[in-house]
Symmetry: C2
Subunit: 271 residues, 2 copies
């Protein structure tokens, strides 16, 4: 009977064919639009970061930032590294949303993708010169599903509109998958990845876990509410929102002044 050492040295992983492994990041930001009047609060828009592909396949189409797993790192570390390499922003939080491994999903060969959601604050985007690069843009996100299971993902940036069509499919455990009907200018199966990422983001926002990372350390409750409403695509009465988040935030002594109306108290996340 051979010892463990002997066995390990004789073990050949190379006997098996192996896939390439990537991590892709759906990075979301909430962007405050220009206000109509000096005293009105700004509107919010949910945006996602896309990179224009410079190479085949899908050259000149838009894709999520990401790249190949390297030896010595975890998949999550890969996602963080690739994202940072392409954007110069280190995301504070990242969450896995799914594995995409259909054999035909990438024309280059057998490549399985691990998708992550990440949240970037508008603050940190403004600090880097990310808006300069023509091949990396923050697209505004519109995603809605009809009762028949047909979903439309519409991404806008200036005069570019990407419009993907997907079909909603219920799987076991009350989960939803998306199958692409029309790519609409998005590379690979990234339209489906974005749809799942958005669903994951929304389900996190429900219990107020995802919303704080969109904002700076100190924020007004109205700003927090706007974030929540932008993600969930619903509106809430201020009185009720305040009551519901009261357990997750704590007061500071600071206020925002000079806005043409009553100053708002700044809050911090609890813990």
């Amino acid at each position: 009977m051979d010892s463990e050492k002997e066995f390990l040295s004789g073990y050949k992983l190379s006997d098996y064919e192996r896939p390439s492994v990537t991590a892709d990041v759906a990075a979301f930001m909430i962007c405050t639009e220009n206000r109509e009047s000096y005293r009105k609060n700004p509107e919010n828009k949910l945006r996602i970061l896309l990179i224009r592909r410079g190479n085949h396949p899908f050259r000149d189409m838009w894709a999520l930032p990401g790249g190949f797993l390297q030896k010595g790192e975890t998949v999550e570390e890969c996602a963080l590294r690739e994202f940072q390499e392409e954007t110069d922003v280190r995301p504070v939080s990242i969450m896995p949303v799914g594995v995409f491994s259909e054999p035909e999903r990438d024309p280059r060969g057998w490549i399985i993708s691990h998708a992550y959601v990440s949240i970037i604050s508008e603050e940190s985007v403004k600090q880097t010169g990310m808006d300069d690069a023509a091949d990396a843009q923050w697209f505004s996100v519109n995603f809605s599903c009809g009762a028949d299971g047909a979903c439309h993902l519409i991404l806008d940036y200036e005069n570019t509109e990407l419009h993907a069509v997907l079909t909603e499919e219920k799987t076991s455990f009350g989960r939803t998958k998306y199958r692409i009907t029309e790519r609409g200018g998005l590379a690979f199966d990234h339209a489906a990845i974005i749809a799942e990422a958005l669903s994951a983001l929304r389900s996190e926002a429900k219990n107020y876990d995802a919303i704080f990372d969109f904002l700076p350390e100190k924020f007004t409750l109205t700003a927090l509410q706007k974030v929540q409403e932008t993600i969930m695509n619903v509106s809430v009465l201020p009185a009720n929102f305040r009551r519901m988040v009261s357990g997750y935030v704590e007061e500071t002594d600071e206020f925002v002044r000079g806005e043409g109306h009553r100053p708002a108290r700044l809050y911090k996340r609890k813990q």
Copy 2:
């Protein structure tokens, strides 16, 4: 400027080193224990399927069923195939729970594992001769975490007890990871995989998505309640449980008779 066809043929995925990819399945079952008296209802126990390893590394230790991803299949298909090969049971439902890709997690080399939860009904286990194999056993599951973040996973089968110790770690988005302190007879990082699988199972059971698959097509509400209580490790008042699941089930005209007490109506899952 080269065409897409030219580009693809020249593209060498073999330039990158690639990991081996596996899928592992945490398959849970709920087992009815022998009743004390003829008229008492049986007790339930949550069990998980483990395989005793015949090879190094971790020879004679216990591991989750699973195996290597093959070309032409998705990771989910791999999980289903491997599970079926080892057990002769085709699970009705399967759910991803996480990716385990720490570079040192497997002494054989660079292997990343995709973990799935699956639920098996006691009915389907009894139909196969699964209990015969000495190297595949259903272990009863006990998992609890103290306030200090120290968790104990205790798996029992007859005179074998596996006792793993883990540390709970909060990550972003309100998620929890488990780091292994003591393997306690489990191979690789499978103790951590089981801990995460169990957490996933519990969070699914909360909204009554996971509990039906443990039972046959027709079941009594008391049986359904026992399943819920076994998974969540809490007890509920029957009146309240019935009210809460009333939207998920529909009556049949059948009853269970001859149990030494009032017959119980059989229900089906709605839809």
